[in-house]
């Protein structure tokens, strides 16, 4: 009996292979976009974990000398004997005839596993590494550069950062002239609780807390949440297709269900067979989706890696490694998606009365009553979105608000379209036009899922497009303000910085020191920059709000400027008191600081002396832009500076903009994919509706409309609905942009951006959505135009 029942159910798909393909493709697309994004996120997070373990990254706590000088090697020995688990590191630059490298001297015996980058971690460091002349491990590119120099034998290892070398600590001490001295000690995990305090063993040393990578996951969370939200949106759009296909298949099989029940198949058995059928589809489509997701992730990962590197300094390998858990999650999401999409259809089957009408009915003819329920749900979600925006805080609340807003808009769409079509019908003159509007209204339930998907895709496009373009416009203007100096030069040490300054002062209009220190505000790390009192800052710095005479106050040490992120984080306004690393002062003003995830404070040059470990090695140089090339050459010739130490304004702007473009390349790609999925949803809906259209079109044809005209009207219908959906997507998209700019950005990055409108983009998007609708309607229209009269006549046949 079960076999016969299954055969009867499956026979539907043999007769409607296109419907089966639609279902599988919809599910596969939904799974692909979701699992692709998840693969990227997983890979990135795995990379952070590796980075956090790596030496040189400032993730671990360090022990440094209080005066910033080198540590005596005896202190290391004393600490180890006292139970402190620390490993020594010397860190310095080695000058060769072919340029310099940063050399890290490490102790392989105390270094924890996995602390070295790339393949170096897997390379057995043997006696030749430890004993003179030793080895210097560098990347292949750096090895080529260093060929022929008098360094110890060079070992090439993939994964080592450019211009960086690793050697045994003893070898490195010799090379750097630091015999008996150490740069810092790394504090390892799992320290014994009974160890004595640092002060009792080495009072001249202090622990500097790890930073950077420890915060990396937190900093990049917003980026990953962004990607996840996109993945979820694409998944939802894909589910609209699946819901449409499953709903149609169940409606068309109602007579079969009734017959099977009448012939003795229990409801439980029928449901079991249907669920088994859906499970098989979910697994097949899931496997296909995972393969597609892998492809998407492979294509997008290089951009994501570049973005994370550029925006957060996070290193992510450009290659994807696949974990079994990823496969299983992909299949799980496919099964879950199928369950969500088929839930209501299965529920209906469970409640189907044995003597229910055998004619398929409701799928394309949903009653206005269900629309009213939809309106109530939409209203409730809109209220929820407003409440979340008003009362909620944090990134998750921001995204919850976005989600509620989008779903509310999608649910309200059929109702609004229904009203618009009714209005259109009232204004129409002539029987064909009146029929056109009324018939379009009747088609609405069958098309509403696809139109909802289109609305989501269009609104997201408008929202994200407006955000990115607003960001771009603001960012470009901000770069012009912020990067006012023509050249930025970094000295290797303070001694060189003094010579450099004297050299530059003779050859420029002004040399602006950019000295900095690390500090804390409210226990969180803060960048502190000292600024010279100079018109360059007074004229250009992107101040958002400030007290009068802000620059005078900063120069005199009566106040500080803080970045926007810090003002949001600690709810600070001009005039508020602030404590910067123990210094009590006042907020004199707030400036925009896009792209920086950390809190930042600008103080006067004199005030900077209050802080420890001030780096006095960087300068901004004001010169005629045409002279930057010559000055750069002179700096390299005179001081042997590496090209990396000299950055001209144009290059920096170009670099910043390229980071910006890459940041949004991923979002752009996902945008296009989502729109393509929505286009596919319209196509599949129109094609499935086309098979049900004949009984509705045949009477009109019989009354005197040609098939060609009916086909043209079919295309106009698709265009009208897509156009109306686009018009509704516009306010939703702009609201979305506002939430992204004013809520999500502030929560995620700590800055708020002004919103700009770009009507050109809307016109383009309208053109694209009309084109998508036109293309989607071509095949169904052609099918109507070419329907043989004999098929039309079957509608009227008594034997039908």
């Amino acid at each position: 009996m079960m076999q016969a029942g299954l055969h009867a159910l499956l026979s539907h798909w043999w007769r409607r292979p296109f419907q089966l393909v639609t279902l599988l493709l919809g599910l596969a697309t939904a799974t692909a976009l979701w699992s692709g994004v998840q693969a990227i996120n997983t890979e990135a997070r795995a990379s952070y974990d590796r980075a956090a373990q790596a030496l040189g990254a400032e993730s671990r706590d360090r022990i440094v000398a209080r005066d910033g000088a080198a540590i005596n090697q005896d202190d290391f020995v004393a600490l180890r004997r006292a139970g402190w688990l620390v490993t020594p590191v010397v860190d310095g630059r080695v000058q060769t005839e072919n340029g310099s490298i940063r050399l890290l001297g490490v102790d392989p015996f105390t270094l924890p596993g996995g602390s070295l980058p790339g393949d170096l971690a897997d390379t057995a460091l043997d006696l030749s590494f430890l004993t003179p002349p030793g080895q210097v491990v560098v990347s292949p590119a750096t090895a080529d550069r260093l060929a022929g120099t008098d360094l110890p034998p060079i070992v090439r290892v993939e994964g080592v950062a450019p211009a960086m070398g690793y050697a045994d600590i003893g070898i490195a001490q010799d090379l750097l002239g630091l015999r008996g001295q150490l740069s810092y000690l790394l504090v390892l995990d799992d320290q014994p609780l009974t160890r004595p305090s640092l002060d009792t063993i080495a009072p001249d040393l202090r622990v500097r807390e790890g930073q950077g990578q420890a915060d990396l996951a937190r900093l990049t969370d917003s980026f990953h949440l962004n990607l996840t939200a996109f993945g979820l949106l694409s998944f939802a759009v894909g589910l609209f297709i699946v819901r449409g296909a499953v709903g149609l298949a169940f409606e068309q099989r109602r007579p079969v269900f009734r017959t099977l029940r009448a012939l003795g198949l229990s409801t439980r058995a029928l449901l079991g067979l249907l669920m088994a059928e859906l499970l098989v589809f979910a697994v097949v489509a899931g496997a296909l989706g995972i393969a597609l997701g892998y492809l998407i992730a492979t294509l997008l990962l290089p951009d994501v890696a570049a973005t994370l590197r550029g925006l957060y300094g996070a290193s992510v390998e450009g290659e994807l490694s696949i974990a079994p858990v990823w496969w299983l999650t992909g299949l799980g999401i496919s099964v879950l998606g199928t369950a969500i999409a088929a839930g209501s259809s299965l529920w209906q089957v469970a409640r189907l009365p044995l003597l229910a009408p055998a004619q398929p009915r409701a799928w394309a003819m949903a009653r206005e009553r269900s629309m009213r329920w939809q309106a109530v749900a939409a209203l409730a979600l809109a209220v929820l979105a407003a409440l979340t925006g008003w009362l909620g805080s944090g990134l998750v609340a921001g995204f919850a608000m976005l989600g509620a807003l989008l779903i509310a808009a999608a649910l309200a769409l059929p109702l609004i379209l229904h009203g618009a079509l009714r209005l259109g019908g009232r204004m129409a003159r002539g029987p064909v036009r009146e029929w056109f509007w009324a018939d379009t209204r009747q088609q609405l339930p069958g098309l509403s899922l696809a139109l909802m998907a289109l609305l989501l895709a269009l609104a997201t496009n408008i929202g994200v497009g407006t955000m990115v373009s607003s960001f771009r416009l603001t960012f470009t203007g901000w770069l012009d303000q912020r990067l006012a100096s023509e050249l930025y030069v970094t000295a290797e040490d303070e001694a060189q910085a003094g010579d450099l300054r004297a050299f530059l002062e003779e050859r420029s209009r002004a040399v602006l020191p950019i000295f900095s220190a690390e500090g804390e505000i409210g226990g969180l790390p803060t960048e502190i920059y000292g600024v010279a009192d100079h018109p360059t800052y007074r004229d250009n710095w992107p101040i958002l709000s400030a007290q009068p005479d802000v620059w005078d106050r900063v120069a005199e040490g009566d106040g500080v400027l803080i970045n926007e992120q810090l003002s949001y984080r600690d709810d600070l306004s001009p005039g508020d008191a602030i404590i910067v690393s123990g210094w009590q002062t006042e907020v004199a003003g707030i400036y925009s600081d896009y792209g920086n995830p950390l809190a930042q404070v600008l103080v006067g040059m004199d005030a900077l002396d209050r802080f420890e470990d001030v780096r006095r090695t960087e300068f901004g140089v004001r010169i005629d832009p045409s002279e930057t090339g010559a000055l750069t050459d002179a700096l390299i010739d005179t001081f042997g500076l590496s090209p990396d130490a000299i950055v001209d304004q144009a290059r920096l702007k170009q670099m910043s903009l390229s980071v910006f473009e890459r940041t949004f390349a991923v979002t752009g790609a996902l945008n296009v994919l989502t729109l393509a999925v929505a286009g596919f949803a319209i196509l599949t809906s129109l094609m499935t509706l086309a098979t049900m259209r004949l009984p509705q079109l045949a009477p009109v044809w019989a009354l005197g409309l040609t098939r060609g005209r009916l086909a043209r009207l079919e295309m106009w219908r698709a265009l009208l609905l897509a156009g109306l959906t686009m018009l509704l997507a516009l306010p939703v998209g702009l609201l979305l942009a506002w939430v992204l700019l004013a809520v999500i950005n502030v929560e995620a990055f700590g800055w708020r951006l002004p919103m700009h409108l770009f009507p050109g983009q809307w016109v383009l998007l309208m053109g694209l959505s009309l084109l998508a609708a036109l293309l989607a309607s071509l095949w169904p229209a052609r099918r109507i135009a070419r329907t043989p009269p004999a098929d039309m006549l079957k509608v009227f046949a008594n034997e039908r």
């Binding site: 029987p431 064909v432 029929w435 009324a438 009269p789 006549l793 008594n798």
Partner: protein, 218 residues
């Protein structure tokens, strides 16, 4: 008014082509009413469809008034259906998205011959005055068929083709619907060709034709 001359039609089938009509010829004058009878599959509906320009004959000639239907292209046949013929189907085939009033006036408006006085009288005569704003699905079968008859007659066509118009109705309702249709056909002076299985209904027509395996008999 209607002339059908040696009309033939063959449909392709899995077991080879099937000749549905084999050289059928007959004529009808203005105001004539004719019943077309025959077994299932004898070709009655096909003949009606060919006359109404819903399908094309393989050979033979159909003339309605001045129009040679068999010589018309797709567009010409659409115009013929709009302007000259009113068709009543067994399944009613109303337009579900339009109200009863809109359905009733639809063909007359398509033909550009709407007569609101006639519409009002027709609605009254058909007993649909209280149902104008309803949708077809809200009506009973008999009411729906009355709308279909009204739609066919609203444009006052020269020829009314009815394919088992009472086949979906019970006997009493069928009788009343037929009475109404005959009255209205007489009132407009139209010619009526009606397919029916019922000898009782056929007896109420001026003339009767019997089709057997695609050819006229008796």
């Amino acid at each position: 008014m209607l002339s059908v001359d040696t009309l033939s039609k063959t449909y392709p089938g899995e077991a080879g082509p099937t000749a549905v009509l084999k050289g059928v010829s007959f004529g009808l004058d203005d105001g004539d009413t004719m019943a077309l009878q025959g077994e299932s599959g004898s070709g009655k509906s096909t003949l009606l469809h060919l006359i109404g320009g819903l399908d094309r004959a393989d050979s033979g000639r159909i003339v309605i008034g001045e129009d040679e239907v068999t010589a018309l292209d797709d567009r010409g046949r659409a115009r013929l259906r709009r302007d000259s013929v009113g068709i009543v189907f067994q399944q009613f085939n109303l337009i579900p998205s339009l109200t009863v009033a809109d359905n009733l006036a639809f063909q007359a408006r398509l033909a550009g011959r709407r007569d609101t006085d006639w519409d009002a009288r027709l609605t009254e005569r058909l007993g649909l005055a209280d149902h104008g704003k309803k949708y077809p699905e809200q009506l009973s079968g008999g009411q729906q068929q009355r709308v279909a008859i009204g739609r066919a007659l609203a444009a006052k066509p020269r020829l009314v083709l009815a394919d088992e118009p009472t086949g979906n109705l019970d006997e009493d309702t069928g009788e009343r619907v037929l009475d109404l249709m005959l009255d209205l056909v007489r009132e407009t002076g139209a010619t009526l060709l009606m397919v029916t299985h019922s000898a009782q209904l056929a007896a109420r027509m001026n003339r009767r034709l019997y089709l057997e395996r695609g050819a006229l008999s008796g």
